[in-house]
Symmetry: D3
Subunit: 256 residues, 6 copies
């Protein structure tokens, strides 16, 4: 069920009987010469809508701009400062609880949002407002991701390429996949960045000239379909598990 | 040009030659028994995309959740607190300027956002970061709006109904227009709320039982088309006017 | 009853029997070549004291500096940033409730404060601390204001001029009224500022050379007296209405 | 020169030739059974206006509500939280500098404001915005204060009583001076409050039943006159000293 | 009992039976040519550990960096801004109460922290989270301090010198005591800084060339021992007094 | 060189010739039944002091309390909220630069601090105040850590146990190592916590009954010595690398 499409009286039954909401969020940021800036929020939205359709759980509109300051050297990257992002997500989530929601899954497709969603989730749980967790599709199917691609990469690599090839094929510049690989950093392990145990980089531009890592030529729409379906299955199970928990069991444990 | 669809190298020319961005924002909030909660952000996005297509100016992804706490008593309304909304919009706009943008039009379709966008715009202008203004479609064509409808209304009335009938007809419950009128407040002037010069209400629920005002039965898709086209023409002219100004002319005047 | 004049034991009875406080606030900002910078807070204070005298309700000292950054180009304008003003008013109001006050009228004579007082009032009501509303004298008697003057104006025009002529005649430069009109913007409707539905100005200096709008030569002390008495009558009725409400009736409505 | 009385063009010469502003601020808080709640801001305003008249320096309107939470148990005390007070004063002062002011004297008559004014002053100096200092009348004439009264007291004692007897005699309940002494704490040194070197009290109510300390029967209007004149003389000299300093000499010293 | 040394199960009994914690805090800032920058936090820690050992009350690790911006012109001074210090101490204290602590003594050896600890303590008491007070060793034994030294000084003078000579003798440059006196300000009363009742200085560098005041040649380790033992005795009594109070007696008094 | 031990004149040469500071920080939090609550800050301090001694670089006093709210269910854990921690570290670091420091290594021994130090470091770099990075000893020698222990663990496991056995042997309860293993979670991979790709836990108490993970019986002081020496070597090299960089090379890259 997509909240944005509904008139308010038609949401009454949902809020009376369910307490879970799916909130898609991603980023609008450079994803190399071959992928659109919307990549992350398109993926997040696709998973959230798909699973809302399959399960009947409520999906909200998408938060399209997140924590992407580390991609700011590339044209078009949009971002808000980390404290602002946290406050926006926290305020939005607190307010959702006024309708009876008490558990939220942040359907997130941007790694840079993760620690901030964790910080917000911890606060919401601490004062027993809601139990909110984040879910990243690729973390739910690590083996499949590893199996499908030789040289993966955390940003703009073959897994994201395949996903957009499957979801929004017209937005992928297939004729630039070789360029993406050759002017980027194909082998992540070979990328410098950690010195004597310390991460000495902050920006994508510190590590890669075109903004991406991995071997994008390995991506196909069919692999994208496999990834999407496998991760959607995981996500459905997460929703069902979460919806089935008594709220008390989701709250913090007592002091010893 | 829609930023979300582009790969970063393809934005270089735009940022070299233009300095205007269109940022659509609205709300996700109750719009009566007949309209979807997404009404405001759908309208904002439609205008921003249309005019971006007609003029070539850059349109960003949409901010879907705004200042709607005054609709919180109705199922599904989403909102963030006013300080959070201001910070989110301000941070996002400041960061856009890193690519060369120095003027922004907030394509806004939610009245509740207006004073906050004005406050943000004043700050951005004061430190000469950017000249950012907000545009509401109905304020650009007040005569046409008055001509088309007997009983208008600031929220969920015939003008918004007609607009969604035109833009996303499947999301309007046409069979509920009479109900919307009859259980709401058709005649805005008759609505109580101002006492001895003081506004003594804060929430939509203080004034209207179903959340909306006006006579919705007056709306048709054809009127929506007229409104959309007339306001788009105005918006095109605003973009052209703004893009043509020297940046110095947009900055605050000197102290006398 | 004026709080500032009282010793604490003499306030006990009031707080035991009443729960309304009147808080005058205005601005210290340019009001053209003919009016004093204190104009707004003088008017607010005069109304608050007059009505406190007539009704017995408690009047607090005056907040003299508000949100006037849009007048900063003119000598002597004082202001605080909007978030600071909101916090100051909110903190002051919350603390008033410790003595038993649960409803407040912000006797405001500066349009620039209005959205901020509304934002504060909404927060105070939401957590059921207090029901606080703002009152502007001219909004309580719009017909009389229209009747008395040919060319009104929102700032430094004939209505404010007449009011200060009546309240503090020695502070008006009567010999500059023609200058005020001729170097300002007499006909507000003729003033530019809205382009294609968008307000493209932020500061008074964007619209007017001497800081004011309207035809000030139309003002007389007698008209000031009429305005003051008529608006005071309205204000008395507002106080009586507000004091008579059960507190529960002033709180937000429940979720549908 | 009083800023509130002036029309903006009449301030131009001042700002061209001078750079000092006097900002009176006090509190609205209980001052025992005999003195008005306005005591502190009345005293501050009287000094600021007097010295502005004698010297020609600019005096602004008065900030009437300060940091008085420690008097909150007594009817009518008004206050804002310390961070709010600091922000209000800091914002107001920063904005004054837009007209050419670069040095400010906070004419303060409330001890509870002092550390906050010092904190604000330090910040304003650090970024070279302004040199702002606070002045308390009684600290400028400690010997005279000691000479005139047997049992002084930091709050509501004979020195403040004499001052209000002189400035606003109708606001003093002369018939309650004995009561003020007898139900308060006449001998400050005898008051408990410090234990083993630690201040173990936070509120006035922790130390005194009626809110005041000292022997108020010792006060006379004549003593008030003496205090006012002597302290005004000191204040005049402070203004002249401060106005005579080159701004560079008022800025922080360089790093060694 | 020192919290840092304990494993968590070994703290259970303490939290079940006691509710007092000692939190040492000082500064890291210049203390003249003869004393180490750690002077203040070394002294605070020494008292807190000594008294924790003597009484069995719980001592936490030390906060080593406080409000010392007024010493920033001298090499090595470390500091945080006042609002940051307050938040750090407040957050830390609030969290301590989750284990059952409801009273805290800030064992403070830096005057610059005092108003900030008072502000934090007032807030913690107001919402009945905890009763937290600050203790400065020298304020507990003012007569002894006066007796032992001819020319005391608030910063880097003989009392602090003697204390470090006793506690950490190897950190005192005994061969620089004469230099400390001669290039500093031996006679505090002779130091300029107050003009007509107003403090016109903000930084240590405004008053003293080498950062310190007093006659340091008067210090000996034996005097340090006397001071330490006498003040420790006072501190023990404070702990015992505080631990013996019913928590209700430590809370704010009711409104009159 | 340890800043706390030095008198300010003795730091002049360092600041003239070097621009690196080492800031140790950790936590005060439960580390199981066998390790002291100070574990993390003891380890951080030991590395910082050791490497400062070996290299001559400046080491500051230790920040002992960090982000440990996720251990709050266990007696004695101290923590500040994440925004407070970030502000404290950021303010402290910004102020260090006033003496000429422009690069900082946060010698951190608590995983919970990492994302916050990264966020602070990114801000400091963005405005070109300083280049600040965090270093965790175990991340510098991952192979050795893996080689030495069968069942490692991120918190209170054998690597931290060995380290404290080596550094502060009297603080380890060697007789509780078996208990630590048996009532905790020896095999981290077996620990639940990730469901369908989502981390569904927030607190240590969600995963482990006694607060720790790993097989602590595997720890020896000799292994601690090996770890300490190997990681110190890495740290020395990091310092030397960082000190050798031109500051410009440490700043963010330009926009493409």
């Amino acid at each position: 069920m997509y909240l944005g499409d509904e008139a308010w009286p038609d949401l009454e039954t949902y809020f009376e009987t369910e307490s879970l909401a799916l909130v898609p969020l991603g980023s609008t940021e450079q994803h190399g010469p071959h992928l659109p800036e919307a990549t992350d929020h398109l993926i997040a939205e696709a998973f959230a809508r798909e699973v809302a359709d399959r399960t009947g759980y409520l999906c909200t509109p998408t938060i399209t701009v997140g924590v992407s300051g580390h991609h700011r050297q590339f044209h078009g990257t949009m971002w808000v400062e980390p404290p602002v992002f946290r406050q926006y997500v926290e305020s939005l989530t607190r307010n959702l609880t006024s309708h009876g929601i008490d558990r939220v899954i942040y359907v997130n497709a941007h790694g840079g949002n993760v620690p901030h969603l964790r910080e917000v989730g911890a606060r919401l749980r601490l004062d027993e407002t809601a139990f909110a967790i984040e879910w990243m599709w690729d973390e739910s199917i690590p083996e499949l991701v590893d199996d499908l691609f030789e040289q993966n990469g955390p940003h703009g690599g073959p897994k994201e390429t395949a996903m957009i090839q499957y979801l929004e094929s017209e937005l992928v510049h297939d004729d630039r996949l070789e360029e993406a690989r050759d002017t980027g950093v194909p082998d992540v392990d070979a990328a410098e960045g950690i010195k004597y145990g310390s991460r000495t980089f902050y920006d994508a531009a510190d590590n890669t000239e075109n903004g991406v890592l991995g071997d994008q030529t390995d991506a196909t729409p069919e692999k994208g379909r496999q990834l999407f379906e496998a991760a959607s299955d995981q996500f459905v199970q997460l929703c069902e598990w979460l919806a089935a928990q008594p709220f008390e069991d989701l709250l913090p444990k007592d002091h010893v």
